[in-house]
Each structure stands twice: as structure tokens, then as C-alpha cells.
Point group: C2
Chain length 338, copies 2
DNA sequence: GTGAAAGCGCTAACAC
DNA sequence: GTGTTAGCGCTTTCAC
């Protein structure tokens, strides 16, 4: 693409330089290192640039500096209500820090996640990977090549922010125990989910400590429909209460129960997780608080800090605490079990 | 940044060229126009590139061609359940067409929308702007400078895909009329929303045609909480049924009504819009179907087509039809009005 | 404090 | 078919 009409395209650094009677280097400096220039020069150049409608071309700048000013967020499912608040927070914080953000949606597919990561790598300065479904070694491989901050995935020696539901889930189990439930169930979430492992483990541990019988129900994913469909299995366990991986699943359970004319919480107690539905279910769901927006903000802070210090790799591990939010979907164990 | 350690960084086109004993142009062609090369050359170059772990640098390519291979989606509020399915569809379709996507969240703020648009402009080949809150002239200004496809915003001479709720809302009003309601209300949505104007207009027109008394309630935004808070005003109108701008608002109304011991649909009928909640409310909401995912896909098709044909501006105007989905939140008018 | 010049990695006339 | 060459728009030594 040699030669181009002179007065044609957008103004470039050269246009401004010519107009201001200075060199292109000076114009460049006026924008990137004003302090190395005489104040009046800066002022004049900037004024002219303004008048000409000039703006730095981020691509050219990126090619030259090796830094794009872009970040990427990777999520398994943007339609899951857990993520939007986090994405929003990430967008906002990244914006404040001067970054634009790419959104990558993996559709819960590890292979796709891997692909998107490598495809985007050349265009961004760093990644926030939320609830990664990749294997630990795949995560490691990417983190070695590019700055990465994980959310809700605990891989040693990679920066991560974890919403720690241990406390909240512990309270949930104890809440149930105190209400007199002796037999409870846990309905699981996505297979490769770190959060799911953590929650399942906690329910098991605390349940045993309190002498409860706890049944683990597998649950490949998180969705309202899956929760609804799990009800027969749930009832078959003989449990009088359930803790679900998240609110979506819990909500589905609420519906499944209602369809069988079981009244919550009179006949059955259900607890969700993440508090994404607020009091919008019927009855309002007892759940474990989450802090997804905070997690997003923290992730960007970690990432941005790391990019500025040009740090190789950080081993930050930020834990965000949770607690039980009691609403109206839990009550004492029914007199006669169903 | 003159000079750099030779064996240092990632392999570039030159590395491959040297290794293959061809010119850089040939390597470039092997990737972008293989048909202009001898098949065996292509094969050899690609093999070597593969072995060296070479991949085209999108930034460099973009700077040279003037096309980034990136698109941007702009939405007012990613946390509104209407958008995620659309964003997901956009991401997916864009990916198929070879584009990566930036996500911009304007937080319902026209000024921010404008800012993000200009900021991203240099990095993307085109925009999908969903439910723009900017003034028509501002929208025009951007559309003149860059390829833009609008979703749910009807500006002449700018490509747009519109989810046309006229049919659905008409059916909603008639449904209510047939159930015997004589006095209804419409709870509005975001001020600058085209969808809101369209729905309000339709309710008014059809209501009058059927001889109903219809009261228009303003509603600055869309949110569960706002719907809940609107209930007192709603009841004060004397209406026996309401059509809300969207499901979120309708859901809030359901709750507000329940809090006043009014049973839906026995004491009051409510209809939502967009069908984003499925049957997840209590009682399941009668609503107007939406087609946000389809809209997203269509928007990308329009945009991609336009970018390929290098068309200046297209005046495509794609309408997506809707219809009423009757569930359980509507019934005959109560005997004695409250 | 400012300019000259080389170069980031790639593409696209234009020649041969 | 393939190489040569001149950029895309910006940053950054190195001089002056």
C-alpha cells in the first residue's frame, strides 16, 4: 500500500507535525511524555491536534510499543446471571485503568476456551479468566505466556481471586441442622468448576461433623431447567432439605417441588448459592452471598498492577468471604416426612 | 525501538522467510492468498511456520490493511437479562465470520456511549449498537464515520434490526380486552428506548380501538425493584391489568402485588415483554415473545456482509416479529374491583 | 528540549 | 509465481 492521497484520510502524527512546524517525534512526545517537552510546545501541539481532530491510533501505537491497551475477559456462559455483574465491574474498572476489553464466551467448552485464549493473545496485554473449565496444565500453559488473573479457580502460582464460599456454605449446613434436618442433599454444578468442588467438600465435611446424612447429587451444569429435573432424584434420597450449587439450580428445584404440590419451606427446605436472584423467587430463596462484582474489580486491579510493574508472575491469592443470607425457603423439618 | 536481540522474541514473517528460503512477501501470501502461490510452496511455508510456532500478528496486519478483524457490541446494561442471549449470539456469529468482539457497556448513559464509540472506533471494523440511548443525530454522526448496525433503534438510512413487538403487544391488549378488562395501564421503560416508544404507542392505539381506558405510567428504567415500587401508582389508576415494558418490571409488579395480598391473576392481571424469565416467575408470566438471539445473529450478518462488500452504507431494515405467550398471570377481570 | 532515523510485523503495488 | 520496495502510524534511541 505505497502512496496515498495526501489530504485524504484521518489526520496522523505527520499532519499535526507539519501544521505545528515540529517533528513527528515531538508530536508523539506531546502525547506520551509531555514532561520531556517545553510546556508551551506541548500546549501548542495539543491545541493543533485538537483542532485537526487528531487522535492517537492505538494499533500503530501497539505495534510500536508491544502493548495494546486491551484486556480480555473469558467466561463460560454469559447468560448465567452470576457473570454479568462481574463483567460489568471488570469493564468499568478496566476502563478507569485505560484498557478496553474483549469478551470471550466459551460456552462451557474447554477446547473453545483454549482456542479463544490463543487467538486473542496477540491482541491483548492480559486476561481475566473466570471459572475456567480448562485442565490445570492448560491454564498453566497460558499463564506462562501471558499475564493472567483467574477468578474462582485455584491454581498455585497464578494470580487469582476466589470467592470463598466455605463460610457461607458452612453456615448453610448448620442452619439446616439447627432447624432439625437430619438428612440433606447437595445438588452439584459444572464438572470442572472449582466453586463446585469447594462447596461440595464443605457440605460433606460440615454435614458429617454435625452428624447429618448427606447425599451428593451430580449436576453437570447450572440451569433452571436442570434444577427442576433433578427434583425426582432429590426426593428419592429421602432428604428434607437441599443445598444447590447455585441459585439457578435452586430456583429450578423450587419449581419442581411446587409441581409436585410440595410447599417450600413447609415440606422441604432449599438453599441456593451466589445470591443472584435476590428476593425474586417464590418463596424468596435462602442463599449464600456472593461478591462477583468485587471479584471482577479485584481481578482487574491485580492484572493492571502486574502489567504496570511488568512483573513476571505474581502469586497473589485473594479470598473474598461469604455468609448465609436467610430468607424464606428454609424452615423446620416437617413432622411426618412427606 | 531500533535493533533488537535477534533470536529473542516470537517468530515473525521474516523468521519463516529465512528458514524457508523465500521472501517475506511469499510467506505473507502463503497465509492470505495461497491461491496465488504454487501449491508446493504454500505447503512448505506453512509447514515451516507451523514448526516454528509462527502465527500472523493481527496488529501488524491491521496496521497495514486498515482492517482489524474486530467488532464491537455496545449495550446499555449487560446485567439486564435481555442482553446476554443477544451478546452470546453475536459473539458466536462474529467468531464464525472471523471477527473477535469488544464489549462496551454504557450503563444507560448516552455520553458514555458516545465516548466508548469514539474510543473503540480505531480498533474495530464495525459496531453493533444495541438499544442505543444516544440522540438520533449522535447515532448518525457515528454511522457516517464507521459501519454501524443498530438493534432496536430505528434511524432512517442506517442498517438496523428491530424486534417488532407491535403484533405481540396488540395481542396482549386484545387478550386483556377479551378477558373483560376495561381499564388497563402501561408501565414504561427506559426513556430513550425505541422499544418502549413502540410498545407504549401500540398499547395506546389498540386500547383505544377496543374502547379501553388506558393509563400510561412513566418508568425511567427497567428493573425488578422499579416494578415493585410502581405498584401503588398502578393501583391508584384503578386499572385491573397492566402491561409492563418488560419482564423485569412485570416481575417486580408481581411481587409488589403479592406484598399487598393481591393474588395474581385473580385480583389483577399482569403481562410482561421479552420473555426472558421463561416460566420462572410465580405465577408464570404471560408475556410477549422476543428474539434477541436472532436479532444478534442477524445484526452480525448485516455487518459482516457490509464489511465484505465494502458498502458505504446500507439501509437494511430487518423486522423480527413477535407474539403473545399466554401463561398464568392473566385472567378475567375480578368481580368487584378490589 | 527537539530532530533524524530506524524499526515494530505485515501487506500490496509493481516488476521480472 | 515470486521478489523488491515502499509504506501503514507510531515510538524511541541517539545526536545536537
Amino acid at each position: 500500500m505505497p502512496t496515498r492521497a495526501p489530504g485524504a484520510g484521518k489526520p496522523t502524527i505527520s499532519t499535526v507535525a507539519a501544521e505545528a512546524g515540529v517533528s513527528r517525534a515531538t508530536v508523539s512526545r506531546a502525547f506520551s511524555q509531555p514532561h520531556r517537552l517545553k510546556p508551551e510546545t506541548v500546549e501548542r501541539v495539543l491545541a493543533i491536534a485538537q483542532r485537526l481532530g487528531y487522535a492517537v491510533n492505538p494499533m500503530a501505537k501497539a505495534l510500536s510499543t508491544g502493548r495494546s491497551g486491551n484486556l480480555a475477559v473469558v467466561v463460560p456462559d454469559i447468560a448465567n446471571p452470576f457473570f454479568p455483574p462481574m463483567i460489568r465491574a471488570i469493564e468499568q474498572r478496566a476502563d478507569q485503568a485505560g484498557y478496553a476489553v474483549f469478551l470471550a464466551h466459551t460456552n462451557e467448552d474447554p477446547a473453545r476456551e483454549d482456542l479463544l485464549l490463543t487467538r486473542l493473545a496477540k491482541q491483548v496485554d492480559g486476561f481475566v479468566i473466570a471459572s475456567s473449565r480448562m485442565t490445570e496444565s492448560a491454564v498453566r500453559a497460558h499463564a506462562e505466556r501471558h499475564p493472567v488473573v483467574l477468578v474462582n479457580r485455584d491454581v498455585a502460582r497464578i494470580a487469582r481471586v476466589l470467592i470463598d464460599t466455605t463460610a457461607g456454605v458452612t453456615q448453610a449446613v448448620e442452619h439446616l441442622a439447627e432447624l432439625g434436618h437430619r438428612q440433606i442433599a447437595y445438588l452439584g454444578g459444572p464438572n470442572r468448576s472449582w466453586s463446585n468442588s469447594q462447596r461440595r467438600r464443605t457440605v460433606k465435611r460440615v454435614g458429617e461433623r454435625r452428624g447429618l446424612t448427606v447425599t451428593m447429587l451430580p449436576g453437570r451444569l447450572s440451569s433452571y431447567e436442570l434444577g427442576r429435573q433433578a427434583v425426582p432424584d432429590l426426593l428419592a434420597t429421602g432428604a428434607t432439605a437441599v443445598i444447590a450449587f447455585d441459585d439457578l439450580l435452586a430456583h429450578g428445584i423450587l419449581t419442581g417441588l411446587a409441581e409436585r404440590d410440595l410447599v417450600v419451606p413447609r415440606d422441604f427446605s432449599v438453599i441456593g448459592c451466589d445470591d443472584v436472584l435476590g428476593a425474586q423467587t417464590y418463596p424468596p430463596l435462602t442463599t449464600v452471598s456472593s461478591r462477583s462484582a468485587e471479584a471482577g474489580t479485584a481481578a482487574i486491579d491485580l492484572l493492571a498492577g502486574r502489567l504496570e510493574n511488568d512483573a513476571r508472575s505474581s502469586d497473589d491469592r485473594l479470598l473474598l468471604d461469604t455468609s448465609l443470607v436467610v430468607r424464606a425457603s428454609t424452615a423446620s423439618v416437617p413432622r411426618k416426612r412427606r
